[in-house]
């Protein structure tokens, strides 16, 4: 019963998060002094030279429709939600007219998800293993060294590290490409190898910075749990040290780490967006960058809405899986 209440409240939060997030994305451009339609008209006129007044009016009308800026604010609001929820449609892209924004996003999403999920998961697992070793044996020399290294690396944002990595491993030592350029036909081995080759450097930057925090917090958690009564009693029962480390210390310490992962996903995503842009990695980040450079309003709104939805959904997935990992919540 209490579990049902828990589940219901989590789902309610999820819906609310989506609502607040999408509403924010909706209102930001509408409360700005700049009008995306006028901005676009200005660009077109600057590029295309003279236009008849009627032509300008016609273009203005069609842009207003394309941008979903027709009608009252409330009508726009309802229309915006309807398009997202039921049609999964953000209109056509202007930079790559007439490709729909949803197609562009669908092409970019696997790249972002592939890079981000792999790198984040890898960083999380690696960080927790190192943190566990460092925390469970916190009197050892290596555990102090590991912690010091983590403390130094952790606060540096991905994109700064990405820059340093680009300078060292793409420019000074040209092992990896400076910007992503994938070769081969999708589905072939060559394509796959090329994807991996191009993803290693951005991936490494996410892993190196990401895992520092997991080391630091896992070390703190596991050295605290190593002092718990149940670890003491397990030791006195003659349970072997490795088993104590895995089943007693790690199993308990990893639970808060899962919650922390859910809370930090937004921040991780922020960093990854910029990393993608720096590496010209063809994911959501680069798509957003392209939209900004080309003043592609629909693409921008679409990609940003999707970012918010993706992060909120991933967070909620972790939150919903959590009770199945922690028996204290499951069997209340």
């Amino acid at each position: 019963m209490r579990f049902a209440v828990f589940l219901a409240s989590r789902i309610l939060t999820y819906l609310l998060v989506m609502w607040i997030g999408i509403t924010t994305v909706f209102f930001v451009p509408r409360f700005m002094p700049t009008d995306p339609v006028e901005a676009m008209l200005g660009r077109v006129q600057a590029q295309g030279g003279f236009m008849e007044v009627q032509q300008v009016e016609a273009l203005r009308r069609s842009l207003t429709t394309a941008f979903g800026l027709e009608g009252t604010l409330w009508e726009q609001y309802v229309g915006f939600f309807r398009n997202i929820l039921f049609e999964r449609d953000f209109g056509p892209s202007l930079a790559m007219f007439p490709t729909p924004v949803s197609t562009l996003i669908a092409e970019a999403l696997p790249w972002t998800l592939g890079l981000l999920l792999t790198a984040t998961l890898f960083a999380w697992v690696l960080g927790n293993i190192i943190g566990l070793l460092a925390g469970y044996r916190d009197d050892r020399f290596y555990s102090k060294v590991l912690e010091a290294v983590a403390v130094i690396i952790y606060p540096i944002p991905y994109y700064i590290l990405a820059l340093v990595l680009i300078i060292f491993f793409a420019y000074l030592l040209p092992i990896f490409p400076m910007a992503t350029s994938v070769r081969g036909i999708p589905g072939t081995l060559q394509f796959f190898q090329s994807v991996i080759h191009n993803s290693i450097l951005p991936g490494i930057s996410i892993v190196i910075v990401g895992f520092g925090w997991w080391v630091i917090s896992m070390k703190a958690l596991s050295s605290a749990i190593a002092e718990e009564d149940f670890v003491y009693f397990a030791r006195l029962r003659g349970v072997r040290e490795n088993r104590i480390m895995i089943d007693y210390v790690m199993r308990n310490a990893v639970l808060p780490q899962i919650t922390a992962l859910a809370l930090m996903l937004g921040g991780i995503f922020n960093g990854a967006l910029i990393t993608e842009i720096l590496f010209s990695y063809p994911g959501l980040g680069s798509l957003i960058h392209l939209a900004v450079l080309q003043s592609d309003y629909n693409l921008l709104m679409g990609a940003i809405t999707l970012s918010v939805v993706a992060v909120a959904t991933a967070t909620m997935v972790i939150d919903l899986v959590y009770p199945f990992l922690d028996p204290r919540i499951r069997y209340k």
Binding site: E228, L236, R237, G238, R251, N252, L255, P327, R328
Partner: protein
């Protein structure tokens, strides 16, 4: 069963060694319930750790001999010295800790925690066999089978402590050490646990060593009793004899401080505090609080000797 000869175990601290167990000589017999009493900080818990050969830093065995002679099922006797005992944990010697909320791993089912202790002694294939044995043992102890599939937080405090006792005694160890096993439980539950412990001891005919600061617990279950004060055993004898003919003034005080039915006035504790174990007095350690203190008490340490039949004491009065 176990002989301790002049055992000294100190805690190394930055301010010097804390002499928590300082020259204890004690023999623990087969098939008996021995209880160790004393105020908190007198070294009784440390003594149990020494008996159990669990001496993590900063605790250190300074000197003395520990000898365990454990009768085997095949009739032979296993002789263990200090630092060998830990290899036989759970199998021949086991430990029951004080009850607490987090004495069992909160995220693992009880069943698994039984297996963990079995460690490598049971290969994976024998899990089912082991499970059967555990279930029949639980039934013997009148514990429901469901505790196995439960998580610790689903059990009541009393049930958790029963599970702990079951865990500790499952292998029918020859020695069971209980360090305040009933402290922090309510009175009714306490009684239940004590009954369970004594019943098990009678069935298994093994040795039960219980540490408690609660004199009532000692009176209820023990055959022999040791009184500890400031790192030393000051009196040791059959429980009955000790309760009715205490020799050491400290023992006398402890027993007198017990409430009795029909009491009118409030009972007072012993005035004063135990000496610092960093720098204990040269003579008798109780001299500062003793009502019968003499000159010799301040100069010389009283020898621990047999004064009456099987009743030892360390006091200059005797």
């Amino acid at each position: 069963m176990m002989q301790l000869t002049d055992v000294k175990a100190y805690y190394d601290t930055p301010r010097g060694p804390v002499q928590a167990v300082d020259g204890v000589t004690l023999d623990i017999r087969e098939n008996e319930v021995l209880s160790i009493a004393g105020e908190s900080g007198c070294g009784k818990s440390t003594l149990v750790k020494v008996l159990y050969d669990y001496m993590p830093h900063p605790l250190r065995l300074v000197s003395g001999e520990i000898l365990a002679t454990i009768p085997q099922d095949n009739g032979e006797t296993l002789t263990l010295r200090e630092h060998e005992i830990r290899d036989y944990w759970w199998r021949h010697i086991s430990y029951i800790p004080q009850a607490s909320m987090s004495i069992l791993n909160p995220v693992v089912r009880v069943e698994r925690q039984f297996y963990d202790a079995a460690g490598g002694r049971y290969a994976r294939g024998n899990r089912r066999e082991l499970r059967k044995q555990i279930i029949s043992y639980l039934r013997e102890l009148e514990l429901p089978e469901e505790v196995l599939t439960s998580f610790p937080h689903q059990l009541s405090g009393g049930m958790r402590q029963r599970v702990i006792v079951a865990l500790a005694t499952f292998m029918h160890p020859k020695i069971v050490l209980g360090d305040e096993p009933t402290t922090a439980l309510d009175v009714v539950v306490q009684r239940g646990i004590l009954t369970m412990l004594t019943r098990l001891q009678r069935q298994m005919q093994n040795t039960l060593v219980i540490v408690s600061h609660d004199m009532g617990v000692h009176y209820q279950i023990s055959d022999r009793m040791a009184i500890m004060y400031a790192g030393k055993i000051v009196e040791l004898g059959p429980t009955e004899a000790l309760f009715h003919g205490a020799m050491h003034p400290y023992t006398d005080n402890l027993i007198k401080s017990l409430p009795r039915i029909g009491d009118r006035d409030v009972r007072t504790g012993i005035p004063g505090a135990p000496p610092s174990l960093l720098n204990p007095p040269k003579g008798c350690r109780f001299e500062a609080r003793c009502p019968h203190v003499m000159d010799v008490c301040r100069r010389e340490e009283p020898p621990f000797h047999e004064e009456r039949d099987d009743h030892m004491v360390a006091c200059h009065l005797f």
